[in-house]
């Protein structure tokens, strides 16, 4: 009886016929293929979205960086203006004359403190002419050694400025003496004069060192090694400059002082491993006025 029962069970299991097995395998294969197809499509789509996100992020990074730089550049502060690069005179700090110690020297109050000044990369000092009689304000740049310009700082100039009515509380490090400023700007420096210690800052679009198929945005002190800031740019990314209401891809000579805005076109692209038509692209364009004239 037990033997018969065991034989019956075996017969029951033996009920899987070849047809059933083939059918099961076929159905399984179809299901796996369908699932794989869906998965691959989803994977491609996801990959595309990730790349789309990447290219948008690349473009936004470029824009965010340039938006921080350009508004701080005064009118007349662009010294190189080309389609793929520009060099600007960026303030390390502004300063206002607050007391006159005599001679060619001047005690000044710094807008960002002495810590913001890096004499090693500063290129000079500029003097501000306020708007008057319908004439716009302007900066006159004087390349010089900022290391030599900076004299004593702290208590001495702060005390002199305090005596003139300036707020020095908790800000002694904001006061410094400009040595020989009168001879640098070739005119008598006076209390209330506004100055800028500036550096030459460069932004360039060039082939990327990190992604040989793409371009990148490089930034840094002009003349020194530039740092790759954002990659993923297309070679068609460019800068344009507004002079007297017209846009140009390159400006030189006297036109540089009349640049009042920079237009940035950031084209970014990123191909997938699949077909080229699956390339994620993005374009971001913005106009940024100089001098904070937003």
């Amino acid at each position: 009886m037990r033997s018969h029962a065991s034989t019956g069970a075996a017969a029951c299991r033996a009920g899987f016929t070849l047809i059933e097995a083939i059918l099961a395998v076929t159905l399984g294969t179809v299901i796996v293929l369908m699932a794989s197809g869906v998965f691959l499509v989803q994977s491609d789509f996801y990959d595309f979205l990730v790349r789309q996100s990447r290219v948008q992020d690349d473009a936004r990074s470029v824009m965010a960086f340039i938006r921080e730089i350009v508004p701080t550049i005064p009118r007349g502060g662009v010294v190189v203006a080309q389609a793929d690069r520009f060099v600007v005179r960026r303030p390390q700090t502004l300063a206002v004359g607050c007391a006159n110690p005599g001679g060619n020297d001047l005690h000044v109050s710094l807008s960002n403190g002495l810590d913001s000044v890096d004499p090693a990369v500063a290129r000079g000092v500029a003097r501000y002419t306020p708007p008057a009689g319908g004439a716009a304000s302007s900066w006159t740049f004087h390349p010089t050694s900022v290391q030599s310009l900076l004299g004593s700082s702290g208590a001495v100039p702060a005390a002199a400025c305090f005596a003139a009515g300036v707020d020095t509380a908790g800000a002694y490090d904001d006061f410094v003496e400009f040595n020989g400023i009168g001879s640098i700007i070739t005119t008598a420096a006076k209390v209330s004069d506004v100055f800028m210690i500036y550096e030459d800052f460069e932004i360039t679009i060039a082939p990327s060192a990190l992604d040989t198929l793409r371009h990148a945005l490089y930034q840094g002190i002009s003349g020194a090694a530039l740092v790759e800031f954002a990659s993923g740019l297309d070679a068609t990314s460019r800068f344009e400059y507004r002079v007297n209401g017209s846009w140009s891809s390159a400006v030189s000579g006297g036109g540089l002082t009349n640049i009042d805005a920079i237009r940035v076109t950031a084209n970014t692209a990123l191909s997938g491993s699949a077909a080229a038509n699956n390339e994620a692209t993005f374009t971001l364009e913005t106009v940024i006025p100089l001098g904070g004239a937003w």
Binding site: R2, A5, S6, A9, A10, R13, Y46, V50, S53, D57, R60, A64, R67, E68, P71, T72, P74, R75, P91, L94, V96, G97, C98, V108, S109, S111, N112, Y128, P130, P131, A136, S137, S138, W139, C161, A164, G165, V166, D167, A171, V191, S192, V194, L290, G291, G292, A293, W294
Partner: protein, 363 residues
Amino acid sequence: MVTVERSATQARAGFALAVVVFLLFAVAMASATGYTVVSIESAMAIQGEESAEAAQIARAGLERYFGEHLGIPDDTTTYAIGGGTVYITARRMAPVDTADGVWAYRVRARAEVSNLSSAVRPATATVQQIAWLHEEPVARTAAFTGSYSSISLQGWTTIEGDDNSFGQCADSGGEDIHGVGHRGSLVTAPHPDNPSGPTPDIEGGPDDEFDFGTHAAVVDSAAVRWDVLQDPSFPVDYHNTVPDFSSLPTDEFPIVRVSGNLTATSSWSGRGVLIIPGSLILGSCCLNWEGLILAGNIRSTSGFWGYFFLRGMIIAGLDGTQDVLSINTSVGPQVYYDVCSALAASNALAWWEPLPDTFEEIQ
């Protein structure tokens, strides 16, 4: 038998279970990876947006401060703009024109935007700009300035440009100013109803009267943005109402503005800057003011009352529409220059002149 059957069932169940577990694991891993990537991208995008928003709000706050803030700067001025908060601070950097009370300031705006991804670390941005603050915009030239080619005063009228502050502030005892400022002539006489009565008493230094010459010169001496101040949309301390002065500190000189004309009655008495875009209408009793009165015009009828009492200064005729001013009344204005009141009121009108091309974005 039972043992054999369970063994076969277990063999099939084990295969299916393994496949299902594997598939579930694969799906879970893919989902987790995808979610991580997407959430990181999302967080980065949000942080970028918040940083950009903070920068925009900081700029907006700075611009708003320059545009609408009047008076000597407080320690911190706070604005709620968009989804963020802007904190404005100003530090006096240098004297520009001590005679006219102009100083150079560094004005800094720091914006904070609530950070969705980190409640304890809001996105921030800081911008700053050099600006001149015209701390004493109203030139102290004459106690009673009227931009009229002819001013006629009669009866009991007193206008003194001599300082009547009697040592109440550090500036007391300084220079006297002219009594009446005009752009043509001043005529004084007893009132016709009482020919033997008093003649207006006009005193000042170095002269009793001063000829500005032109309407533009009068407006320049006021050195206030008259077109802005009289705009009903421009915020002032009190509009069409006077504050309860008993609840204000005694050294606070608020800006009070009315719409159109103001009849000089006692209900408008107080201190500070009284801005009347229309006309100050004389003929009632008894406006008593301490500080500055700026009026588009003055209108008076030839009756008994032409009275108002002022310790400080008045500049009228700022709208430039009237050429002749006649206050031919038995009792006319009583104006006593008081350097302390005039200066405090002038300080309340201090306004910013941001210097173009000195904008900095820090941090």
